[in-house]
Symmetry: C2
Subunit: 135 residues, 2 copies
C-alpha cells in the first residue's frame, strides 16, 4: 500500500495529459465550497495554459470554434482553486469559486434537469438565478 | 423569472441528449453523500438504457470497445441515486453510492493527482485504498 500523499513530482503537466484528436480535453468544473458540479467544458492546450497562468477558467468552444474566458461578457467568472487530473490523464477536474450563474440559461449549474421515472420524465430541479442572455 | 422547480415534463430522454459522432456521451460520476467527483466515463445508448433499468452504472469502454458494468469483476459497483443532464444535453451527471474504490488504480476517485505550481508539479492527493488490479 502506498499511502504517501505528500511527495511532489516535477512534471510537465502536458506530458501527463491526453488531448483528443481535436486537441481537446474535457474539464469538469466543480464549485469548491459546495461540491456542486457546475458544468463541463473543453479546453485546448492554450486555454489550459491561460487557466493555469491567470487562475481564471478559459475554454475552447467547439460550436463557435473560439477560445473564451468564462464570464468575459457576463462577469460570471470562475476563479480556480484546485486542479486535478484523472488516472488516464484524459479528464480534468477543476474546483472554482463561481460568481453568479455558471449556466448560460441562468442556472447556477448547467445540470439543472433531473431525470425521473427511468428516463420517462424530467424535472427542472433548481431555481433560475436570472434570465438567459445575462450569463 | 421562472422559479418553477416542480413541474415534470414527459419526455423521451434520448431526444434530449446529444450523443457524439461515435454515439457516446460523457457521464460524470459523483458520490452522492460526499459530493466527490469519482470519475468520468462514456456511455452509449445501450449502456445508459441499462443504467436506467438496473440502477447500476454501465459504460462503453472506448479503449476496449466494450460494454461494461462498473464493478463487474471488482465488486466496486455504483448504485445510481440521481441523474441530471446539462443545458446542451451533451453531458450526464450521475450521483451514485460507490462501493470501494472507483479508480482501477485503487483510489477512491480517479482524480487523485493534484496540479501544483501552475502545472510544474503534481502531487498524489489521496491515500490508496488498495493496490491496482483489485478495482
Amino acid at each position: 500500500m502506498n499511502g504517501n500523499t505528500e511527495q511532489q513530482t516535477a512534471v510537465n503537466l502536458f506530458d501527463q495529459l491526453k488531448f483528443n484528436p481535436d486537441g481537446l480535453i474535457p474539464a469538469i468544473i466543480q464549485e469548491q465550497t459546495t461540491g456542486r458540479v457546475l458544468m463541463m467544458a473543453w479546453m485546448n492546450r492554450a486555454s489550459l495554459e491561460k487557466t493555469l497562468e491567470t487562475r481564471q477558467t478559459h475554454f475552447w468552444s467547439r460550436s463557435r470554434q473560439k477560445f473564451w474566458r468564462k464570464g468575459e461578457t457576463s462577469g460570471h467568472t470562475q476563479t480556480v482553486k484546485h486542479i486535478a487530473f484523472d488516472c488516464d490523464g484524459d479528464t480534468l477536474l477543476i474546483q472554482v469559486e463561481q460568481i453568479g450563474a455558471a449556466c448560460h440559461e441562468g442556472y447556477k449549474s448547467c445540470f439543472f434537469r433531473s431525470v425521473e421515472n427511468q428516463g420517462r420524465t424530467y424535472q427542472v430541479s433548481e431555481k433560475r438565478l436570472e434570465m438567459p442572455g445575462q450569463s
